[in-house]
């Protein structure tokens, strides 16, 4: 990767078009680096990606930031509102509750799936067995399904006479049955477990591909030294998966905090606001109440929160 160094100045700070893992691109720009004209030419190559990224990611993000300082309904002339939207958003108890719920969802969207993913990886790797592709596909399936379909299906599974309650009844836990998503105390947990179901497959697939890249010699050496399966998993597989775990953490944390569609189709924030999440409130402010300013301010706050948490995860998982 040393060759990549001269290419650095070519990348503008924010909209760098995917640096990528491999060294392919940096090497090519590296060859041209250092002289005047080819540098400009380099920018020309960047232009299409830059235009798309700028137009569809940077510009809307900046617009949102701008809107968050306006008192605007989307049609009439906007008025400058200063920080008013932010004070409103921050002082609203609804929002605090929603952010709290988002943080609880991280447990279900992120921590549990990573744990499940690691467990599955530990069980399925090590020795090759028939039907691996089958397992992988089955576990990854929730990722492929549209979340709206997932949500609708789970609403039925969780309903009064749905499969979940039937199962509980069948194993003699009939006393526990309830309409899970309508239950004041359990709705958030029930919702979170849908997220666990969705995200576990993704984590597993990430970890499995990571585990396959670990040099088999390490496993063999550990086995020769008398390490059992658990020991090998903890000492060889787990450290080798640091990168993948951090990536899974980032993706799933974002999914937890930004969750919208799943909540929208299953509980829509109910019962009585018990499953409100920030993105749902952004949607309501913008499209039900026509308050673009407050919706944008809330979106900005949510974004900052996501950036903070994601940065923290990356920091924790950084390789020394």
């Amino acid at each position: 990767m040393g060759e990549g160094a001269p290419a650095r100045p070519l990348h503008p700070p924010a909209p760098a078009p995917r640096p990528g893992r491999g060294g392919g691109r940096p090497r090519r720009t590296g060859r041209a680096g250092g002289r005047g004209r080819p540098r400009l030419k380099g920018w020309l190559y960047l232009l299409p990606a830059l235009a798309v990224y700028g137009g569809f990611a940077i510009y809307p993000a900046l617009s949102t930031l701008y809107f968050s300082f306006l008192d605007w309904d989307g049609v009439q002339l906007p008025a400058w509102a200063g920080l008013e939207n932010y004070t409103r958003v921050v002082s609203d108890p609804l929002l605090a509750g929603a952010i709290g719920n988002g943080l609880v969802l991280i447990v279900f969207f992120s921590l549990l799936p990573i744990a499940v993913g690691l467990l599955m990886t530990g069980l399925l790797t090590g020795r090759p067995r028939r039907g691996m592709t089958f397992y992988r596909t089955v576990f990854f399936l929730p990722q492929v399904l549209p979340l709206v379909a997932v949500g609708t299906t789970w609403r039925w599974l969780y309903s009064g006479d749905g499969a979940v309650n039937e199962f509980l009844g069948a194993v003699g836990l009939g006393g526990l049955t309830r309409t899970w998503l309508g239950d004041y105390d359990f709705a958030l947990v029930a919702l979170g477990l849908i997220g666990t179901w969705c995200m576990s497959g993704l984590c597993m697939v990430l970890f499995m591909s990571g585990a396959q890249k670990i040099d088999p010699a390490l496993h063999e050496a550990a086995a020769l030294d008398g390490a059992g399966r658990l020991r090998r998993f903890l000492s060889v597989t787990l450290p080798g998966l640091r990168r993948e775990i951090s990536i899974a953490g980032v993706i799933t944390t974002i999914a937890a905090l930004a969750s919208f569609d799943l909540v929208f189709v299953t509980t829509n924030g109910g019962p009585a606001g018990q499953t409100n999440v920030p993105a749902l409130l952004v949607y309501r402010l913008a499209f039900n109440e026509g308050d673009i300013g407050a919706a944008s301010a809330l979106a900005v706050v949510l974004t900052l929160l996501v950036i903070a948490l994601v940065s923290l995860i990356r920091l924790l998982a950084r390789e020394k």
Binding site: R178, L181, G182, I254, A258, D261, T267, R284, F287, E289
Partner: protein, 458 residues
């Protein structure tokens, strides 16, 4: 149509696959994607000083006028059927239809009606009008109402929600901005077979009788009510109770935003207490909070429950699925002879102030109150604007229409409560869920509605 009925949409998918970047970049990228979702649908700022929106000269004679109008709408039926009926009668006028699904309708119509290429006619939506009317984009129909005599030809209760002041903050006052093309009414569907089974001879005539029927059903092991508490079904029961128990002028003032109004009244407290009592008695169960309106309707259709509180929009399906087993009545009052009051709404149409053919557009609105239009409105499952249309032996649909005519003739149609403010529905649904789960008291529920009201109108 049910107030503000919503269908799921796919938004804010987490940005997968971006995560292979260095920490900050990946965070920024996902952040950008997040904010992108938040503003993808925002108008690009079509603001401007308010336009003049009052026509100078109006004519009710459109003979010899040949025009092509565009009509933007979301509800179909009845929109395309009504347009067809109109153009059959006025062949010189042709109408180009532009439909948008409800989930996108408010933002689409706000954008297009404030653009340079606005459709001539648009289906009225209170949320959108709150921006469009103050901007001067909607034609003030007062001159036409006077020229045609709409006060006479349309039920006044149906015109009220379409009248507003120039800021579109208070309704049932100021000028007329739309005309109703098909009406709806909230009531109670019952399962005749189950009614008999639990030992109730006649459909309940008073609220006490109704509660008695609920109790009998509960004892007999039949679910008394199907409640779509996840969506609008929960607060529609509360709404129907309030209609039956409350003073409807007081309620209308509150919904229309008359200064100093309050929902924290004795009548509203009684309606809320009644609802909470039904929860305590187990007539409404906590499972309702996870039941969508469709699920509730399906449960009723399957014969699993005695009553379903919803509107005429369900009549078609119930008639088709249940035939004579389904009946319709209004939520009964304290006494059997109490003047009936029920919530209703309309599919209404507004005219763009930049239309080149205001006379032709107004002629369409006027035609909506005709007997020909009434037939189409009935045929498409709505309540007719002209209530004098005779019944035709169509079972449940006739029953619904009879109930509606009774209310309309009494001037007893009142708006749905979510009309009060743009965010009211987000207080009503969770608020009633709180009552169902027992996590909030009737007082807290009413106070939260009033707080939302004060925030918007205060």
């Amino acid at each position: 149509m049910p107030p503000e009925e919503k269908t799921p949409s796919q938004e804010s998918k987490p940005p997968r696959g971006r995560a292979l970047r260095p920490a900050v970049l990946s965070a920024l990228g996902s952040a950008a994607a997040l904010t992108l979702t938040a503003c993808a649908a925002l108008p690009g700022g079509s603001g401007g000083p308010p336009q003049d929106n009052t026509p100078d000269e109006v004519s009710t004679d459109i003979s010899g006028v040949s025009a092509t109008l565009t009509l933007a709408y979301t509800d179909d039926p009845p929109s395309s059927e009504l347009v067809e009926g109109f153009t059959d009668q006025y062949p010189d006028v042709s109408v180009e239809l532009r439909q948008t699904p409800f989930t996108d309708y408010v933002k689409t119509i706000t954008l297009s009606m404030s653009s340079d290429d606005a459709p001539d006619i648009a289906q009225y939506n209170p949320g959108a009008m709150r921006s469009l009317v103050p901007g001067g984009h909607i034609l003030n129909l007062d001159p036409y109402a006077e020229a045609y005599g709409w006060e006479e030809s349309f039920p006044s209760a149906a015109l009220e929600p379409l009248q507003s002041d120039e800021e579109a903050s208070e309704f049932a006052t100021g000028s007329l901005y739309a005309a109703p093309g098909a009406l709806s009414v909230l009531g109670v569907f019952y399962n005749t077979e189950l009614l008999e089974e639990v030992g109730v001879e006649e459909p309940p005539a008073t609220l006490d009788d109704f509660e008695d029927a609920l109790a009998r059903a509960d004892e007999a092991g039949v679910a008394p009510l199907s409640v779509g508490g996840l969506e609008v079904g929960g607060f529609q029961i509360w709404n129907a109770l309030l209609n039956s128990l409350g003073d409807h002028t007081e309620y209308k003032d509150w919904v229309y935003g008359a200064a100093g109004s309050s929902i924290e009244t004795d009548a509203a407290a009684e309606a809320t207490d009644t609802f909470s009592r039904w929860v305590d008695e187990g007539y409404v169960t906590e499972g309702a909070n996870a039941t969508s309106d469709d699920d509730a309707r399906a449960e009723f259709v399957a014969g699993d429950s005695l009553f379903l509180v919803t509107g005429n929009w369900a009549a078609f399906e119930l008639e088709a699925e249940m035939g004579d087993d389904a009946g319709f009545m209004l939520m009964p009052g304290r006494t059997a002879d109490q003047a009936p009051v029920a919530s209703g709404a309309s599919v209404a149409y507004a005219v763009s102030s930049s239309t080149e053919h205001p006379d032709a557009a107004a002629a369409f609105l006027d035609w909506l109150s005709s007997a020909e239009a009434a037939r189409i409105q009935l045929d498409t499952g709505f309540m007719p604007v002209d209530t004098q249309v005779p019944a035709e032996g169509r079972g449940l649909l006739d029953e619904v229409n009879a109930g509606f005519a009774e209310v309309a003739d009494n001037d007893g149609i009142v708006p749905f409560p979510d009309y009060a403010t743009p965010g009211m529905i987000d207080q009503l649904t969770p608020g009633v869920q709180g009552l169902i789960s027992g996590s909030s008291t009737p007082e807290e529920f009413l106070a939260s509605l009033q707080a939302e009201w004060e925030g918007h109108h205060g």
